[in-house]
């Protein structure tokens, strides 16, 4: 990519214009100056036009609208929300809903993707063929269509609220969602939380201890059982000591819907399932190529050491394949997060639906709302990239 470097100009007392034209440095500077000027002009023209348009037509502008009363309701919110709260609050509700579906979607898609990817390499012809059909079908259908299919398919398959499907633990499933008892924490909960934290801390200590021993002596102790006993035991004692501060709010039949308890909306289930299944098809392909990239000798060497198939995969192949898998996996995570914006089509109250949808319509402040929405996704993308780069650096093969 080096520009042709000219021989140094012969020393002269004054440089003529031609010298400047043929001087790569001067040319580079001039070119950049022109671009900078054009850019400034371009941005200025846009801003000027917009301000002029907004003023000429008496359209409100600025971010003050975020404090105004929203006045509409949202079907799912992780934080307290009522229609008397502000647009800013509604924005947060949408943001958290997006994050919720993105985070759970990423985890599920990774699991399903790994399973399908490994299945596609299975020695069992039928399993491999089924995995291929899955991948080739889902990869080639628009995600939006996929969401429609899952959503209306789910609604069609579920019973009406009056004939709810009864599940264990007083849970119910119908077209209005999955209802289950909501835990209600009473006084003394802090003791239980403290107990859990102590148990987990103990388990971590056990792990670190066993690991140090393993590195020093090569002896691998099985610590899963002691860990389990520690966590469950301490938590249980704390729970009882606090006087069992937990009760449940059970869903009960109302005239139209079940009342009480906790609900997972069908929109959420459909969005999660749609995004997971769609993204999993891509992740499966990434996993497959990652596994294929591990040299055959590695399998053979591991087998020669006497490791069985599961161990070969877990200890030898996957750690090496991860190097190849993680960078494209990051892209899929970003895609899933961005695709979650399709929620707008199936009525899940995510950021785009609540903020770039309802709020934009109520306030008519398109410029501000779209800018905020885009910035949020940009920040989410950057954060995901930073995290995955850090993770990638951790698993990267350290050579010599």
């Amino acid at each position: 990519m080096k520009r042709p470097s000219k021989p140094p100009a012969p020393a002269r007392f004054s440089r003529s214009l031609t010298d400047y034209i043929y001087d790569p440095k001067a040319r580079a500077l001039a070119l950049q100056a022109i671009v900078a000027l054009l850019l400034v002009w371009f941005v200025w023209a846009i801003v000027d036009n917009t301000i002029r348009n907004l003023e000429a037509q008496g359209i409100a502008s600025g971010f003050g609208f975020l404090d105004n009363t929203a006045g509409f309701d949202i079907s799912q919110s992780l934080i307290a929300y009522a229609n008397t709260m502000s647009y800013g609050r509604a924005f947060l509700v949408g943001l958290f809903n997006t994050l919720l579906v993105a985070v759970i979607g990423v985890v599920l898609a990774t699991i399903v993707g790994f399973v399908i990817g490994i299945a596609r390499l299975s020695g069992n012809w039928l399993i491999a063929a089924l995995a291929s059909v899955y991948i080739e079908t889902l990869r080639n259908i628009p995600p939006l269509l996929m969401l429609f299919a899952v959503y209306f398919g789910v609604l069609k398959a579920l019973p009406s609220p009056r004939n709810s499907l009864e599940l264990p633990f007083s849970s119910y499933l119908n077209t209005r969602g999955l209802y289950f008892p909501a835990p209600v924490w009473g006084e003394g909960t802090w003791l239980f939380v403290a107990g859990v934290l102590v148990g987990v801390a103990g388990a971590v200590f056990l792990y670190l201890n066993a690991r140090r021993k393993f590195i020093l002596t090569g002896k691998a102790d099985s610590i899963a059982l002691p860990q389990l006993i520690l966590v469950v035991g301490v938590a249980a004692i704390a729970f009882l000591a606090a006087g069992s501060p937990l009760s449940f709010d059970y869903p009960q039949a109302g005239r139209f819907n079940l009342k009480g308890g906790m609900t997972i909306l069908p929109e959420f289930i459909a969005l999660l399932a749609g995004l997971t299944l769609y993204t999993a098809a891509f992740i499966a392909e990434i996993v497959r190529s990652g596994i294929l990239s591990v040299a055959k000798g590695q399998h053979e060497a591991a087998a020669a050491l006497g490791l069985h198939r599961g161990q070969i995969m877990r200890l030898v192949v996957i750690p090496q394949a991860l190097r190849v898998i993680i960078p494209p996996l990051t892209n899929q995570y970003l895609n899933l997060t961005k695709n979650s914006s399709l929620a707008v089509a199936i009525g899940y109250p995510d950021l785009v639906s609540v903020f770039a949808g309802t709020v934009l319509n109520q306030t008519n402040q398109a410029v501000e709302v779209i800018l905020i929405t885009m910035s949020v996704y940009l920040v989410l993308s950057l954060l995901t990239s930073v995290f995955m780069n850090w993770f990638n650096a951790r698993v990267a093969l350290v050579e010599r």
């Binding site: 036009n49 995600p143 269509l145 429609f148 398109a366 410029v367």
Partner: protein, 369 residues
């Protein structure tokens, strides 16, 4: 599974079906269990599809009444009756030949271009890049001067809009993507950072927000006496969006061109445009053709999002037909419509991905260790 086909167990013809089954399906207890489960799933899926799409399906009828029968499967007459709508939207009946003729012109240029070993690639490329878009523009939109009735884009719909958005999107983003890729590898810091900023910004936001931007924000950016057609605004959004992705694909190609090629071009005294145009880009682009096809597939699928801003692409028009035509109401109408749309999308994307995979394998020969 090309790899295991080469290295795996012998093919069925060589060892007989029984032994093949024993080795590939029932080699262990675990494997046998998997096979049984997989078999049940396959049969259940295949039966479900066949039962719905063929056995219980309704094939004739002039409205939805035939499909309202209890237990009826797919409602195919709906798709048959709306077929023209799904393909062309509300494009006037007597003008549809113009769309078909445009398709024909496109195929006439594209097919020989996509096949290897067909001579005259240069002329074909010039035809596709310069001549065809002009012809297609006037054919589709019309021109009083040529005696072709003007057909407003508001009347376009269905597969036509899907193809127009995807093709114009990729065509417009192509030069833009190359420029961005070159700019990103430029030594001039300002240009480089501008390119990086643009690419990363666009790749960081969902297409839906870009489309919202194009449909509700862009008009406010323009001077007061200038407006754009709605379809054109969506096209601008789509083109900018896919340019950023294409730029990254092309950058991959640029990085794959050996350093010696750059240096040799420098040694010949070529200036920057000549070096890039004659030496580097031809090699880089050839390497990334599969990547470009993959970008096109992604874009083709993404075009369905334009329905969110009220344009009627294939999915949008199916949705509209399903929701607003009482004549065809039946429990299976919607499902049939969506399945049809899914099948059309799948057909396009699957064949393109096969083509891309085939190209990849062709380009790979000789490079593999």
């Amino acid at each position: 599974m090309r790899v295991s086909a080469r290295t795996g167990p012998p093919r069925i013809e060589a060892i007989g079906p029984l032994r093949w089954m024993r080795e590939n399906l029932f080699s262990s207890a675990f494997n046998s269990a998997l096979t049984v489960i997989g078999g049940v799933i396959s049969v259940w899926l295949a039966w479900g599809v066949a039962d719905w799409a063929l056995l219980r399906a309704v094939f004739t009828g002039s409205d939805g009444s035939a499909c309202r029968v209890e237990g009826a499967g797919a409602c195919w007459p709906f798709v048959i009756h709306k077929f023209q709508m799904f393909m062309y939207g509300r494009y006037p009946d007597d003008q549809i030949w113009r769309v078909n003729f445009t398709y024909f012109l496109a195929l006439a240029g594209l097919v020989p271009l996509m096949l290897p070993n067909v001579p005259g690639k240069l002329w074909l490329s010039i035809y596709m890049i310069v001549v065809f878009p002009v012809i297609a523009f006037f054919l589709l939109t019309g021109s009083e001067w040529l005696g072709l009735e003007i057909v407003e884009t508001e009347k376009w719909g269905g597969l036509l809009v899907t193809l127009v958005v995807a093709c114009v999107g990729i065509a417009a983003s192509f030069p833009l993507g190359i420029l961005l890729a070159l700019a990103r590898r430029s030594e001039l810091p300002l240009i480089k950072w501008l390119a990086i900023g643009f690419i990363e910004f666009v790749r960081g936001v969902p297409l839906v927000t870009v489309l919202f931007f194009a449909s509700v924000m862009l008009p406010l950016f323009l001077p007061e006496n200038v407006t754009f057609d709605k379809l054109l605004r969506a096209l601008i959004g789509v083109a900018l969006f896919s340019a950023a992705y294409l730029a990254e694909v092309v950058r991959g190609g640029l990085q794959a061109v050996p350093r010696g090629q750059f240096e040799a071009a420098d040694a010949l005294g070529l200036n920057y445009p000549l070096k890039m145009g004659l030496i580097v880009l031809p090699q880089a682009l050839k390497l990334v053709i599969p990547g470009i096809v993959n970008s096109f597939i992604a874009l083709f699928k993404d075009t369905s999002l334009v329905l969110i801003i009220g344009l009627f692409d294939l999915l949008g028009i199916v949705q509209q037909a399903v929701a607003s035509d009482a004549k065809w109401f039946s429990p299976q109408t919607a499902v049939t419509g969506y399945v049809f749309a899914a099948f059309v999308f799948w057909l396009f994307c699957f064949s393109m991905s096969r083509y891309s995979a085939w190209l990849e394998s062709r380009l790979d020969t000789g490079h593999k260790h």
